[in-house]
């Protein structure tokens, strides 16, 4: 059974169709990259998988471990083990990282049938995972993302990923806007979290990230459809030839 199986997914927002029949299967332990030009529907796919409400699913199905999740609330999906690393992590002034992590980690643990973490255990986890992903531990004493730099916000997403230990992690343009040091640090964090029982969907506009997070499969999304899939060498080819090449190719095929 696949970890994630998307069949003929059509999604619109305010009557404009954004996803026009997406098919994609990710097995556990695998990392799939989704590349594509701006506006091709990559981020929409990420948000639909995480349960953002403003998107209308017109057709198709999304199976997570064989179970249809399209009717689930965002928190139910999180409890099942889906994690979205946001393209633009939200600043939450007045919401302490500590309190936020406590509620969220324990909610997810409870769903997995695990005991909630006590204050001391939680603190230890926070220290360990922050170190693992290279997040400055002082940031965990602040409000969520408030006043964090762009790189710190992205690293905080990877940190939360490490804390919540999901089965499927969706990285929505985690690389965009990062300088090369921050990019390396983020990629390094992700690589440490790649395990046999976890799948990754890495959404990116740029091939550069895939030098650091080497994917098992690469998919190219254009106009709301996956038009081409291949191994990691596809990313390099795209970098050389540009998205126009795939677009023309797709047009010929259609």
């Amino acid at each position: 059974m696949a970890l994630l199986e998307i069949n003929d997914l059509h999604v619109s927002v305010e009557d404009s169709e954004i996803l026009r029949g997406v098919d994609l299967t990710i097995d556990t332990g695998q990392t799939h990259a989704i590349m594509g030009p701006n506006g091709s529907g990559k981020s929409t796919l990420a948000k639909v998988l995480a349960g953002r409400e403003e998107y209308e699913v017109d057709r198709g199905s999304v199976l997570f471990e064989g179970e249809d999740i399209l009717g689930d609330e965002p928190d139910e999906r999180a409890e099942k083990g889906i994690f979205l690393a946001f393209q633009y992590p939200v600043e939450l002034p007045g919401v302490s990282m500590n309190n936020f992590l406590k509620e969220s980690v324990n909610k997810v643990r409870e769903a997995r049938g695990e005991e909630p973490l006590g204050a001391a255990d939680l603190l230890q986890q926070i220290r360990e995972k922050a170190e693992l992903v290279g997040l400055n531990a002082d940031l965990t004493k602040r409000s969520v993302n408030e006043g964090f730099s762009g790189g710190e916000k992205k690293r905080n997403e990877i940190f939360q990923l490490a804390m919540l230990e999901p089965k499927l992690a969706i990285m929505d343009e985690t690389d965009s806007g990062l300088d090369i040091d921050a990019l390396r640090a983020v990629a390094d964090g992700v690589n440490k979290l790649r395990t046999d029982d976890r799948g990754f969907m890495v959404i990116t506009h740029y091939q550069r990230l895939l030098n650091y997070i080497v994917p098992d499969r690469v998919h190219v999304m254009i106009d709301g459809r996956i038009v081409r899939s291949g191994g990691k060498e596809l990313a390099v080819e795209l970098e050389d030839k540009g998205y126009e090449w795939v677009r023309e190719d797709a047009a010929v095929a259609a």
Binding site: A50, G51, R52, E53, E54, E73, P74, D75, R77, A78, E79, F83, L84, F86, P89, V90, L92, P93, G94, V95, N99, F100, E103, S104, K107, V108, A111, S143, Q160, L164
Partner: protein, 452 residues
Amino acid sequence: MSTSSTDLSAEERLVQAFEANEGQALNGAASLGEIRREAISRFSTLGLPGPKSEAYKYSPVTRALRHEYEVNVDAEPEHGVTESDVDDLLLPGLDAHIITLVNGRFDADLSRIGDLPDGVIARDFHGASAEHADLISEHFAQYADHRERVFVALNTAFTKDGAFVYVPNNTILEKPIHVLNVTSTDRDLFIQPRNLVIAEQSASATVIETDHTLTDSQTFTNAVTEIAVGANAHVDHYKVQAEGENASQVNNISAYQTRDSLFSTTTFTLSGRLVRNNLHITADAENCESRLYGLFMGRDEMHVDNSTLVDHTMPNCMSDELYKGILDDDATGVFNGKVFVHRDAQNIKAYQSNDNILLTNDADIYTKPELEIYADDVQCSHGATSGQLDEEAMFYLRSRGLSRSQAQSMLLVAFAGDIVDHVEVEPLREVLSETVTERFAETSEAATRWKA
């Protein structure tokens, strides 16, 4: 001629009550009598706010006063409030000088004033008006304007009792004064406490006023608190309104600041039926700092109105104002804040803002932050936001496993925390923080201390 009282307007009934009580019942220092008569005459002339009143446009105070409240002048010996009621209302862990007013009258048995530093006075207004007539005549009715403000005029006419606090030159009052306002009556009372706080040069004091209702009868409180902040003095003031659902109030606070002084006031409106706050700060000398903060949390049919005025008459002063509202159910909120900078008041820094969250479609907010500036070298800003909880923030929290109500509660507590964090008195901050958290908790547990 026989006139049944129902034929009289609210104004006429109140003037009649004044005439009936003016002699014995309202006695005090001789100078009070004159001001009282002037005040009732101003009250008659001004009248209660009519339908065209701009200042009371959104708040049906006059309509509420059509109810025939009984004007309370004498203390009610049978109020039934016990020591243990008082214990339940006090702030755990707060060592304070406690002045208890029951239905607007000082209650010596329920007060716990304790030892005061040399020269400090903390007691009933009624007794002070005889024993400290010099202080009263120097300060009473000097800061709250009974000539132009109708509810101040009304309160001034009926002045009888309340809290009186005096902190002399260079005296630091370490423990806060806690004025505990308790309403407990089986009658529909109209209650008018009058408080006066005087901090002389380089004095420092913290005053906490909290309002509570123990009974279900309908009551209307029209309170006035005058605060004189002397040169280089520092007064921290808190008002916590946690009255019952049949209790309405107009709360008038007037602070007058002199040179190099710091005045800070924070108002928490947690419950009540109709609550109108008139906060008026005059920074009448150079180098004053004024801070005014507020948090109002309306639910059911509650109506909360904050009307503030910061009057900068002199240069080189700073004022900072932030009010936040959270409105649930059918509640209505009003914020009308004005900062007035006179022509010669150069180099003023004044910031004002009001942010509101509406939790339902039936909740309403009317907000009007205003600057009126006649000086040309100032740094002022104002703004207001009103809306629902941020959807993106909700989605972020929910994508981490938090339910809708958990996420909402977390964001509301954070929103309110901005104001709660301004509270310098730790036991007060803790109770408020608890109250806010429990108000927005998913499943509201048993009533908290100030259940609100």
